[in-house]
């Protein structure tokens, strides 16, 4: 009886201490392990994930996605990219590359597919663009503090959807985050200058950048600023030299 009581006392001391310390050590989970994930990656890979090899499996799936890209097997590429991002949602590169593969590579391939009618090609390209956008939006939801994904989404809006307002918005969001690229604020102002009805706002931003000094006075900034001065009919004495 005595040893059993001793064991119970040990457990009574150990368990609350264990639970309290575990709660204090809780960090951001990389994504929960669900039945959906098990169905996506297969049983062997799921067991490997349970064994603590989440990152390694995600890398191997991403390498396989790269092979699928080389073979231009877009469906398989999409599957592998979904698996890799599901397993490792904190890897920025996975989301960025997934968005790029879908919107740029698969989208362009769909548009150049001679076996389909022009309408079907455009529809397929649009689907791939939406897939690319979806990857980037989900990537941002998992990593809201990383500017790279906002930059990628802004490029997608600018180059593929020709939605300058959203491109400007995302470049601006990126420019507010630590580690952002030096061009984010500039690009946001450029994109804003293409938006109907927001010329004044664009002009003010371009002007602010211009006043920061020689480093910001790049040829494109000067051209955009002069174009805005023309459109807003800024008095000659307020214009840049």
């Amino acid at each position: 009886m005595k040893p059993v009581l001793a064991l119970i006392f040990i457990l009574l001391a150990f368990v609350p201490l264990k639970l309290k310390m575990e709660a204090a050590c809780d960090r951001i989970a990389p994504g929960s392990l669900s039945i959906g994930l098990r169905e996506q990656i297969g049983q062997s890979a799921f067991i490997a994930v349970l064994g603590g090899f989440r990152s390694v499996i995600a890398d191997l799936l991403f390498i396989d996605a790269y092979s699928a890209w080389e073979r231009t097997d877009w469906t398989y590429l999409l599957l592998r990219l979904r698996q890799a991002t599901e397993l490792q949602p904190r890897a920025i590169l996975f989301w960025e590359m997934a968005g790029w593969h879908m919107a740029w590579n698969a989208g362009t391939a769909a548009l150049e597919d001679d076996s389909k009618s022009p309408a079907a090609r455009r529809r397929l390209q649009h689907d791939y663009l939406e897939l690319g956008k979806d990857f980037l939006v989900r990537g941002i939801a998992h990593n809201p503090e990383k500017p790279q994904l906002y930059e990628a989404l802004a490029r997608l809006y600018r180059d593929k959807f020709h939605d300058h307002a959203r491109a400007a918005e995302n470049f601006e969001k990126a420019s507010r985050l630590p580690g952002h690229a030096s061009y984010d604020e500039r690009f946001s102002a450029y994109e804003l200058s293409y938006c109907e009805g927001r010329e004044r706002e664009a002009y003010d931003r371009l002007r602010t950048l211009y006043q920061r000094g020689e480093k910001e006075r790049l040829p494109r900034l000067l051209n955009q600023l002069r174009a805005m001065e023309e459109r807003l009919k800024i008095p000659a004495n307020e214009r840049i030299p």
Binding site: L7, C25, G51, G52
Partner: protein
């Protein structure tokens, strides 16, 4: 007190020597070393993420082989001593059972430290070489770009290379292995064969990586039915959260681990180790040999 420490140290040294003589462990470490070196070649297949793949595979290999070493080395200690009847001659001397258990623990820990040092040196060397190559490639590619863009890219490469978090990840891998040693000692204190201990520990290893999910479900009453809730409670009460010591996700997210969090994790490891060893000693003290 000092004579007790002396006895623990003597048993630890003997355990370490015995384990070091077993060739199977050299094979395990060799496999890990081969995998670490090959990670560098495998990483070249991947596009743009060589350093990340190198680190993931190298850390994964170290984590796996160190955990295997911890379980396999510890699982055969008690059954072999019982089979060879060494334990009777040891415990016939003025050696207490807790000293015997602690000596075994520190003996295996010594083997793990040496194995980890060997694997870490190679891992850091491989990552350092890849980082150097990545810096050269970046400088070449961005030679025409503005200096702030080049600086930005170089900072990103250095962040992805060998850094403080990588060393911390290795330290926490050792902590995880030490937890596994204490838990294996706990299981083998009542087990009758090393096969049973290894099988049980393989299950514990898998469940341990899911403990945080089970705990979360149990604490937030998400599971339906008393049976499921009881099962989750058992997992949350008795199994260690092994995923807490896995830092690779943190490293990939490039979010540095704070000193406070490191201390908390080491504290968590210490609680597990002390807890499981105390339970192991309590069970072993009552075991009829």
């Amino acid at each position: 007190m000092s004579s007790s420490l002396g006895r623990i140290a003597a048993i630890g040294r003997t355990t370490f020597t015995e384990l070091a003589r077993l060739r199977v462990f050299y094979v395990l470490v060799l496999f890990a070393l081969v995998l670490i070196i090959s990670s560098s070649f495998l990483a070249r297949i991947s596009f743009q993420q060589e350093l990340q793949v190198t680190k993931d595979i190298a850390l994964g290999a170290i984590n796996f082989f160190l955990s295997m070493l911890a379980i396999v080395a510890t699982a055969q200690l008690l059954p072999r001593d019982l089979e060879d009847r060494v334990i009777y001659s040891v415990l016939a001397k003025p050696v207490r059972r807790f000293e015997y258990m602690l000596g075994k623990f520190f003996g295996v820990l010594g083997l793990l430290v040496i194995s980890l040092v060997a694997m870490s040196i190679l891992c850091l060397a491989v990552i350092h070489l890849r980082e150097g190559a990545a810096v050269r490639e970046t400088m070449q590619q961005l030679s025409q770009s503005p200096s702030d863009e080049l600086d930005h890219a170089l900072v990103a490469v250095h962040q992805a290379g060998a850094n403080r978090d990588l060393i911390l990840a290795l330290l926490l891998t050792l902590t995880k292995a030490a937890v596994l040693v204490s838990l294996t000692l706990c299981v083998s204190s009542f087990a009758t064969s090393n096969i049973f201990t290894i099988s049980a520990m393989a299950m514990v290893y898998l469940v341990g990586h899911l403990e945080s999910i089970a705990r979360d479900y149990w604490l937030h009453q998400r599971a339906a039915g008393w049976l499921a809730r009881t099962f989750l409670a058992v997992v949350a009460f008795f199994f260690p959260d092994l995923q807490a010591f896995n830092l690779s996700d943190q490293i990939i997210a490039a979010s540095s681990l704070s000193n406070l969090m490191l201390l908390k994790l080491l504290g968590l490891g210490a609680i597990y180790i002390v807890g499981y060893i105390v339970i192991a000693i309590a069970i072993f003290s009552q075991r009829e040999l």
